[in-house]
């Protein structure tokens, strides 16, 4: 069952009076519980697609149907509520509130949510539980400049998961991390996916994309190919090799 259905999505930027069509009639579906990677060369429109699908940016035309509702028709307040209660976000840069501790940054969306009727104590307990799960509980009271990049990105994942989102959007989540941190972060995301969270992720890294069940390849604002990870490939290395072969065929 599709959680998101994108129909003929177009996005055009106007720079110095010149129109730049970044997304051209993009259509695809993501089923509930899927983990989908968006790949493609720099400037092909991957991030624009992610932001348009998640409602952070307005599409020029087309539809994005999320849980049966076209979110391109929603106003700013409705989109904000949707992002708060049903979506989670992870960015390449680990943006957090400078003056708050790691724990406070994580718990922030839960306290802001009206849907979540649990007490503040319960919310904090849930945040601590998430941090424990992602192995960063020891930095709960640290400031954001007192932790490593990997720890900070895991804190961002915790924050994105605080309101139990239906879908997690990740824009190059490992782009600013070293190999070790990158592996850890992707592993955590995979665990979340296995627990039922749908994930749509933009990445350049084939190693990361190989962990996904499906890969959409974009060139010049169009989906040029779709790769479904064969279910018989269980180990990471063979999944990665298979994906790389497919990408090479596309000229990546």
């Amino acid at each position: 069952m599709a959680i998101i259905e994108v129909k003929n999505l177009c996005k055009t930027y106007v720079v110095n009076k010149r129109q730049n069509n970044v997304l051209k009639n993009v259509s695809f579906k993501i089923d509930k519980g899927e983990m989908v990677a968006i790949m493609g060369p720099s400037g092909c429109g991957k991030s624009t697609l992610l932001y348009s699908v998640s409602g952070m940016d307005r599409a020029t035309s087309g539809e994005v149907v999320f849980e049966g509702k076209d979110i391109t028709k929603l106003n700013e307040t409705e989109l904000t509520e949707l992002r708060l209660d049903k979506m989670g976000f992870i960015f390449q840069q680990m943006y957090m509130m400078k003056n708050l501790s790691i724990l406070d940054n994580i718990v922030l969306p839960a306290i802001e949510s009206k849907k979540d009727t649990t007490t503040k104590k319960e919310k904090i307990a849930r945040a601590e539980e998430l941090m424990r799960k992602l192995g960063i509980i020891e930095v709960a009271d640290n400031d954001i400049n007192e932790v490593s990049g990997g720890q900070l990105q895991r804190a961002c994942i915790c924050r994105s998961m605080m309101n139990n989102p239906e879908i997690l959007f990740a824009d190059e989540p490992t782009g600013a991390l070293n190999r070790q941190s990158s592996t850890e972060v992707v592993e955590e995301m995979r665990k979340l996916n296995k627990e039922g969270t749908t994930i749509m992720m933009v990445t350049h890294d084939a190693k990361v994309a190989a962990k996904c069940s499906r890969v959409l390849y974009i060139i010049d604002g169009r989906i040029e190919g779709e790769y479904i990870t064969p279910s018989d490939l269980q180990d990471d290395k063979s999944r990665e090799r298979s994906l790389n072969n497919w990408l090479m065929e596309l000229g990546y």
Binding site: R83, L100, K120
Partner: protein, 787 residues
């Protein structure tokens, strides 16, 4: 390449650069106008008295022959030159409007020929007024304003049997009598009209002279005049200068405000430069990484700020002229203020701003040398600051998230908000100091320094005043008059006693030195009715009380003996007490009620005082004042009203209070808008991420508004707490110059703790709200392109 980077930077960081330019404009405007005003005010009275030609000593006589000064002026070696004006000193109620109603005026009016005047008078634009034709006049002081007259209105001067119709040609500034403290009105008329007045024999006893004396030895001149009869007033230039002290309070408020605005400008400017350079750290790191030298990087930023400084300062310089005039307007209405430097001071002010900005930029970029490229890139990229700590924990905080974030921001980085707190607290405090001063001046705190306390202070009807002033020459006549008035009040069911204080010019000798000093004696009072702050009240005519000013002038203290000529006898008297008074700016001796003065030769008298014997309530006193005004007395004032009348400058002070409030609100608006814009620019990515994770605009606006609200509240609390001690510190010396060093300030808690702080906090919140609407432009998708 270097220039291209600079050009690109000025374009790309347009918002923050525009904010910087606006700050520089403000700073340049404040500093340039402030510097000019400081110099103008510091030289204020001397400049004015010099321009008018007041000289070093001024004498006012009432003498029908107009010759009592001749011998002394010619024979005193200490007098190098002098100028004399002939005057007719008419009753205070001698001017009538077109409906034959008496025009409001409190003191005697000096009528003289404009053509023959020796003093330079100035019109409102500080130009010499045109010559007067017959039937036209100029009027000095606050008379025109008090009576809502304007140029072209027709008034009638009635003196003796003469009536002269005059068309008012306008207001002129009078350096000698124009201060609120001197309070005499001069009517300048054509010489033909003056001759008509002088030809009336009923006006003979109103003839007098004003003499402006130039001398290097003022003490010798003062001693020379101690033997002159018919002296109404004599004073050195220093005392005439002091009479402007109340007007100069206003000028000094402007001065303090100017200094304040300069400090605020520099504090805010330094903060914004620091902030913007921190914002540029990422780029600095990149430049360092690719091998550009520290010197070149620093030069790049210093040149950028130099360009901003030059552009902002030129605009600020142009704005400083009207702004400076606005600040000093209330003072220049009465005085001719100026300085010989002209606009050069404004230019110097702007140059100081430019140099300060370059110095701040130089200091702020010193971090460039210390930081490694990695430090700089990392700091710029994550927005981290060195050693930041979150001060609050959300789990322990009860209020909502915007409040939490606002309070946490302030506590986590108090230095960042310090400049706003300092700016707001400074301005608010000066508003509150002025509020305290005006409240005190409008109360009856100073009444003891003018006269004894009584229920009412009254002026007589015109006929009675004329009869008493020119008709009574013995104590018996005055006593009979008081008895008659007391009986009149008794018949109206208001048993009371009436008394008055007379002033006499008495020669006082201390050793070889002789002085002419004003002495005040109560008629109908005893020494117990007056306040003395040290020693014991004089118990007989052999004892006197003096003010600290007289103690200093004569070089005497309690227990010392001086010789005083009361008028009808000369006695060696002992100083028994000190008291304070604002009469004669503190240069006064209080003499015992039994001292043998010549009552026919009083030089001035205070208001008549009425004390009801049946102890009526305050409301009843006010009711009785209304009943008595018009029929029994010309004017009836409560102690508060009389104090305002004596101080004179209260309406101006009130106007300045509101001007200061307006300027403070202006500063609040500018600082809030510019600082908040700077903060929002710095916090763009945080705002974007909050929106991305689901925070509504309203919550982000609340965060911004609460933060500025808290900062304004802290500033208001600091200002309110400091306002009382600062009022004592700043204002008491000024009242001290006027003769009152021990001042009980009237603090209105409602105004100090609620109304004024609330106005400033409310304005901050409103401005902050409108400024924060700019966060609508920050989209959640900005997280994608923040870098």
């Amino acid at each position: 390449m270097f220039l291209r980077i600079l050009k690109k930077d000025l374009k790309r960081r347009k918002t923050i650069n525009i904010i910087m330019v606006l700050f520089v404009i403000l700073a340049s405007m404040f500093v340039s106008s402030g510097l000019n005003n400081v110099i103008t005010v510091a030289n204020g009275t001397d400049y004015y008295l010099d321009q008018a030609g007041v000289g070093d000593y001024v004498v006012l006589t009432r003498d029908s022959e107009r010759n009592c000064l001749d011998d002394i002026l010619d024979s005193t070696d200490a007098i190098s030159s002098y100028a004399i004006e002939n005057i007719v000193m008419v009753d205070s109620r001698s001017l009538y409007d077109e409906n034959d109603e008496i025009l409001e005026n409190s003191n005697s009016i000096l009528v003289q020929s404009y053509e023959d005047s020796k003093l330079n008078f100035f019109d409102i634009n500080n130009q010499t007024p045109e010559a007067l034709t017959q039937g036209h006049c100029y009027i000095t002081g606050s008379f025109i304003r008090d009576n809502n007259l304007s140029s072209g209105d027709c008034i009638t001067l009635k003196a003796g049997n003469t009536e002269i119709e005059l068309i008012v040609d306008g207001f002129v500034k009078d350096a000698f009598l124009g201060s609120d403290f001197m309070g005499n009105t001069r009517v300048l008329i054509n010489s033909e009209d003056l001759r008509t007045l002088e030809d009336d024999e009923f006006n003979l006893n109103m003839f007098g002279q004003v003499c402006y004396i130039f001398s290097d030895d003022v003490d010798a001149v003062n001693a020379a005049f101690s033997s002159v009869d018919n002296l109404m007033f004599s004073a050195p230039r220093s005392m005439i200068k002091m009479a402007y002290v109340m007007d100069m309070i206003v000028a000094f408020v402007v001065l303090i405000l100017s200094v304040c605005l300069m400090i605020v400008s520099f504090v805010v400017l330094k903060f914004v430069i620091n902030l913007t350079i921190t914002e540029e750290y990422h780029e600095i790191g990149v430049m360092k990484a690719i091998g550009i030298s520290n010197f070149k990087i620093r030069s790049l930023y210093i040149i950028k700020y130099l360009i901003i400084a030059i552009v902002g300062s030129i605009v600020g310089l142009l704005l400083s002229f009207p702004f400076g005039e606005l600040l000093i307007k209330s003072v220049t209405e009465k005085m001719v203020l100026g300085n010989s430097f002209g606009c050069a001071l404004n230019i110097v002010g702007s140059l100081v701003v430019i140099l300060s900005i370059v110095a701040f930029a130089y200091a702020s970029t010193s971090k460039i040398k210390k930081a490694t490229p990695v430090d700089a890139i990392r700091s710029g990229q994550t927005g981290e600051r060195y050693s930041r700590k979150s001060a609050l924990k959300l789990r322990k905080f009860k209020a909502n998230i915007p409040s939490f974030m606002a309070i946490n921001d302030i506590l986590s980085n108090p230095k960042r908000y310090m400049s706003v707190v300092v700016a707001f607290a400074f301005c608010t405090m000066f508003v509150l100091i002025l509020v305290n001063t005006v409240s005190t001046m409008k109360s009856d705190s100073f009444i003891d320094t003018f006269a004894s306390r009584s229920d009412l202070y009254v002026t007589l009807t015109q006929e009675e005043d004329k009869e008493a002033t020119y008709g009574y020459s013995t104590r018996e006549q005055w006593e009979q008059f008081f008895d008659r008035k007391e009986q009149e009040l008794e018949d109206l069911g208001m048993p009371s006693e009436i008394y008055v204080d007379f002033q006499y010019q008495c020669p006082v000798t201390v050793g070889e030195e002789e002085y002419m000093i004003s002495c005040q004696q109560g008629f109908g009072t005893t020494m117990d009715d007056y306040a003395f702050y040290e020693g014991v009240a004089p118990s007989s005519p052999d004892e006197i009380a003096i003010t600290p000013q007289i103690a200093e002038k004569l070089g005497v203290e309690i227990g010392d003996t001086v010789t005083i000529n009361y008028g009808l006898e000369t006695r060696n008297v002992t100083v028994s007490a000190y008291f304070q008074t604002m009469n004669q700016l503190g240069e006064l001796i209080r003499i015992h009620e039994d001292a043998k003065t010549d009552i026919s030769r009083w030089s001035s008298k205070m208001a008549f005082q009425v004390n009801f014997l049946d102890n009526p309530s305050k409301e009843e006193i006010i009711r009785r004042a209304d009943e008595l005004e018009g029929d029994v007395f010309f004017d009836c004032m409560t102690s508060e009203e009389y104090q305002i009348e004596c101080l004179g400058v209260v309406p101006t002070m009130e106007a300045v209070q509101y001007l200061l409030l307006a300027i403070t609100l202006l500063v609040v608006i500018f600082v809030t808008v510019l600082m908040e814009r700077s903060f929002i620019s710095d916090e763009t990515k945080e705002i974007a991420i909050l929106k991305a994770i689901g925070f509504k605009n309203s919550r982000i606006i609340s965060w911004q508004v609460i933060r500025f609200g808290i900062v304004a509240f802290i500033a208001a609390v600091i200002a309110a707490a400091l306002s009382v001690p600062m009022t004592h510190l700043c204002i008491t010396p000024i009242f001290g110059m006027m003769g009152a060093s021990n001042v009980d300030y009237v603090i209105d808690p409602l105004k100090i703790l609620l109304i004024y702080p609330a106005i400033i906090v409310a304005m901050t919140v409103i401005v902050s709200f409108f400024t924060s609407l700019v966060t609508y432009e920050i989209k959640s998708s900005n997280t994608a392109n923040i870098e």
